[in-house]
């Protein structure tokens, strides 16, 4: 479906709709918060009932998350020793490969057998779909690394990690995408960087965005869009089909694990929906971050917590930072949205709408380290909030997606309603549940005034309070379990005391993460009520 995925230059009815959907989440969030406060003052028992219902919902939601988080963890462990490149090669000679796979099926059952079973199932799905997988030799990787002048030092670390990949580097192209106005000396430095890698990669280029940064549009989307368009021109010149170019967009400084590109290649080849899909890797810490200060642990855990939860539930999965997709698909839905503050999630919704709801996010069961730079210990809290606010920017996709759902006549109605509900629910739950869980839950106990004391339930509030408290504690413990699962195990110290300290450390992590997320989302929602659209240029 053709849709202007933007909040600019809209017709009057569309602009009205846009405003309505911009205001809706904020109004609902504040309406619920104020409603709970007012109801808490006037009808605390009704609030007690609502809080109980909500707390139970939260506990079950956490249970759901934990189940899939555990599944995700198991899957990552299961695939830790998988030779993705061998599997990708196998797809191109399926007849012989099947025989080889079947011959391997002897001996005791172990992780590898389970992994192989899943792999065979994926091959069956591919065969059943009658989709012709591209040849491994034909697949190219395009890596777009946008950055500012300050990021230049991080470029080489990302490219070096690509060179360490088990995927042939001769099939990898890298584009450094710079914003407008890069100084001449810096361009010289970039040239030297390109020279350094020219012989090692299929292509390495630097592009400089000709557009000046606009107050309307975030600079980053302009930069990467320009880079993607330039890449399309390049591959067209080289007569390389865009369908066989897997475009990855990494932030400078991201270190890619050696088998990342192989895994991506395999997943791209084996997926029948490769031309309408986004391949999302999972940021999991596989190095010890326990040597870092608590502030950094908080930041890192917080960064990946949200993403892991999303990744654990593919049905709700939308793209976030560091993902890959076919260049042909990217060009088809006209690249990243120009004026979205959160281009990663916005890209997903744009593609989702363009492909009439048939655009998927396919998780890559492989982790890679996320590099988070925290310069000063004192700034970690600010940085954490900035990170949360960045995640909260996705709020701004809601009105555009909703407008699109209203127009997307070819997308099944049920799918549109379901997605709209999920979006709104995600908006509200993130902004509200910390407030409801940790603040409003106590209203019935605190605000049951004497005027209610002719009701027996007034005297029963200790029971209600106990129930609320129990559910809250369960919810918090589950938050801790989730947070703990995000972090790697401490390998050197295994004493019980150390473990207790680890867990105690996680309490502030969970609470801080919860509150900051809520504050950030509420802040963006409130801004939207007053017509203030946020932007960042990462």
């Amino acid at each position: 479906m053709e849709f202007n995925f933007s909040n600019q230059n809209l017709s009057r009815p569309q602009a009205t709709l846009q405003r309505f959907f911009e205001i809706l989440p904020g109004i609902l969030s504040w309406g619920i918060i104020l409603g709970v406060i007012v109801l808490g003052l006037t009808r605390p028992l009704a609030v007690a009932g609502l809080i109980l219902a909500f707390d139970l919902y939260l506990v079950l939601r956490f249970t759901y998350m934990i189940i899939f988080l555990l599944f995700l963890r198991s899957r990552l462990e299961l695939e830790a020793k998988t030779d993705w490149l061998a599997r990708a090669r196998g797809i191109n000679r399926l007849y012989d490969y099947w025989r080889e796979l079947n011959e391997l099926e002897v001996g005791p059952k172990g992780k590898q057998d389970l992994s192989r079973t899943i792999h065979k199932n994926e091959l069956r799905i591919l065969e059943k779909s009658r989709s012709r997988a591209p040849l491994l030799e034909d697949i190219h990787h395009l890596i777009i690394i946008p950055g500012k002048a300050a990021d230049i030092a991080n470029f080489s670390s990302t490219v070096d990690s690509l060179l360490r990949s088990d995927f042939p580097s001769i099939k990898i192209s890298v584009i450094f995408a710079f914003e407008y106005g890069v100084s001449q000396p810096l361009r010289l430095t970039v040239s030297r960087l390109i020279e350094r890698y020219r012989d090692k990669l299929f292509e390495v280029q630097a592009v400089y965005c000709p557009d000046k940064p606009s107050s309307k549009y975030p600079n980053r989307s302009a930069v990467i869009n320009f880079a993607a368009r330039e890449s399309v021109k390049y591959f067209n010149q080289k007569r390389i089909p865009l369908e066989k170019v897997i475009t990855s967009y990494f932030q400078a400084g991201v270190l890619v694990s050696p088998d990342y590109l192989s895994c991506l290649t395999y997943r791209f080849m084996v997926s029948p929906y490769r031309q309408a899909a986004c391949f999302q890797s999972i940021p999991v810490y596989n190095y010890s971050i326990w040597s870092d200060p608590v502030s950094r642990i908080t930041l890192n855990a917080s960064a990946s917590f949200f993403q892991l939860i999303e990744a654990a539930n593919p049905d709700n999965l939308v793209s976030f930072s560091s993902y890959s997709l076919s260049l042909a698909a990217l060009a088809e839905f006209d690249y990243w949205p120009q004026d979205s503050a959160s281009i990663d999630t916005a890209m997903f919704w744009k593609a989702f709408i363009y492909f009439n709801g048939n655009f998927k996010v396919i998780p890559l069961y492989i982790g890679y380290p996320v590099k988070t730079v925290v310069e000063a210990q004192a700034s970690w809290f600010k940085e954490l909030y900035r990170q949360k606010q960045e995640q909260a920017m996705a709020v701004q996709d809601f009105p555009i997606a909703m407008r699109a759902f209203l127009k997307a006549g070819r997308m099944p109605l049920a799918k549109r309603i379901l997605q709209a509900f999920k979006l709104l629910e995600a908006q509200l739950s993130v902004s509200l549940w910390p407030f409801l869980l940790l603040v409003a839950g106590w209203f019935p106990a605190l605000l049951c005034g004497r005027e209610f004391s002719d009701s027996g339930t007034y005297y029963s509030t200790p029971r209600i309070t106990f129930l609320i408290f129990s559910l809250m504690v369960i919810g918090l413990i589950m938050s801790l379990v989730l947070t703990k699962r995000v972090l790697p195990e401490r390998k050197s110290e295994r004493k019980i005391l150390v473990k207790i300290v680890d867990w105690l450390t996680l309490v502030p992590l969970a609470l801080i993460g919860i509150f900051l997320q809520s504050l950030a989302v509420l802040s963006v929602q409130t801004g939207l009520i007053f017509g203030r659209r946020h932007s960042h240029d990462g």
């Binding site: 919902y57 004391s453 002719d454 209600i464």
Partner: protein
Amino acid sequence: MLYFRKIVLLSLTATYIILCPLLISYAFGRILKPGAASDSAGLIFLSTNPPGARIYVEGRLFSERTPAALRGMLPGTYDVEVSLNGYKPWHTKIRAFPKLASVFDKILLAPESWKIKELSAEPFRELISLPESRFFILNKGSRLGDYYSFDSKDAEMNPFVRPGSNLAQFEVVSLYQVAGSSRMILQARDSREEKYFLVDQEKGYVDVKDISRFFPDKFEHILWDPEIPDYLFTFKKGSLSRIDLSGYSQGENYLQGLKGYGLFDQVIYVLKDINTLLRLDYERGNQSVIFDDPILGNFLFGREDFFQVKPLDSQIIFFIGTKGRLVSNLAPNRWVEEGLRGLKFHRQTKRALFWIKDLAAVIDYRPLFLAQATAIKNTLPDRYSFYNKGRDITQGFWAYQGAYVVLADFDKVFLFELKDQGESFPNEVVKISSGSNVHYYESSGKLYYLAPQSNKLNCLEIVAGVSKQALSFREYLSGKNKF
């Protein structure tokens, strides 16, 4: 994977749909039981004497003052305190039951200090209580001229005989009384003869009538029915005689071969030998056998020669032996082997109060009636000692419609609130002249006693007057209809 996710999602959704209403229902007092209708919250009703006390539940002040109903109480146990200025706080744990009212409508608030009123300027030697009567007897000596009747209704004291009367010199040997009757019979003698006097206090003065001619021989035991006081039943050597005072007739050999007898509700209960308990009217008609069981008879009565028969109602019958054995016809039959000092019934609530020298207890037959109503089998009455540190318990009275007991123990009077089972805290009311009797009259709620040392007649109000009395739950419902 997709199926697994759907199964998990559906399971959790189903769990939520089932658990959420259950959880909220539980929080708000509705406990759902499989196969039963939903039970809702209960109610706690509190009513005090005097009314207007503040109510604290779990330490939180209730908006209303007593009498008040706390509605919507979740099933469970609550700490409840009731307090009123000038009175000791009353506190207890109250259990709220689903869909039931836990009624505490007889809370008697004990004052910080009891208000004592001196009723006489002169001392008395002895106070003789006439149980369940508004009259009691005072004397300054052993002669009839020293005897006075005190009417607690009018606070009037009348001498038995006028000064100078020739009866005044008669020395009282024995005094026979029946609970609930304002009459009594005195056995008295002077230097020449021994006489029996009927003392009637209902006439506004004390009417002392010589009825000696009805008693040609001495008797071992005498009883009369307060409702038909002209019939006197005397017992001697296993024979029962009926004397009709109004007809001035004397019935010899009314019934023979008896081991005991008692009167209740215009029916005479006789224990023939030790095997048979009969019930018959005063004309010896309508005879029915309550039990005829040698084994039970032997178990209950053994070798004691005489038993007073004390029916609590037509089914529950107690027997008091001469040595103070207390037994009943219903299991568990043997309550006190020896040394019973007193037994008093509270017939409305099917309870019996008894005491020995150092212990007071209640036998509660309500579980039996509850069992009959609910078809529960093998339920026995509850027996609980509420006071077991007595020094010399001499008297006991039911107070405040059976919710409390007043006990005279050597030189102190205690007020006990009867709780379901267990020991009660002895609330000391007043010190009395050592070993002397007290009189408590339920209708006025007043306690009369002789003050220690001075031996003057004093009075204090244990239960405040009707205007201050606690509103019953039924009255509350009919008046306010809040439940």
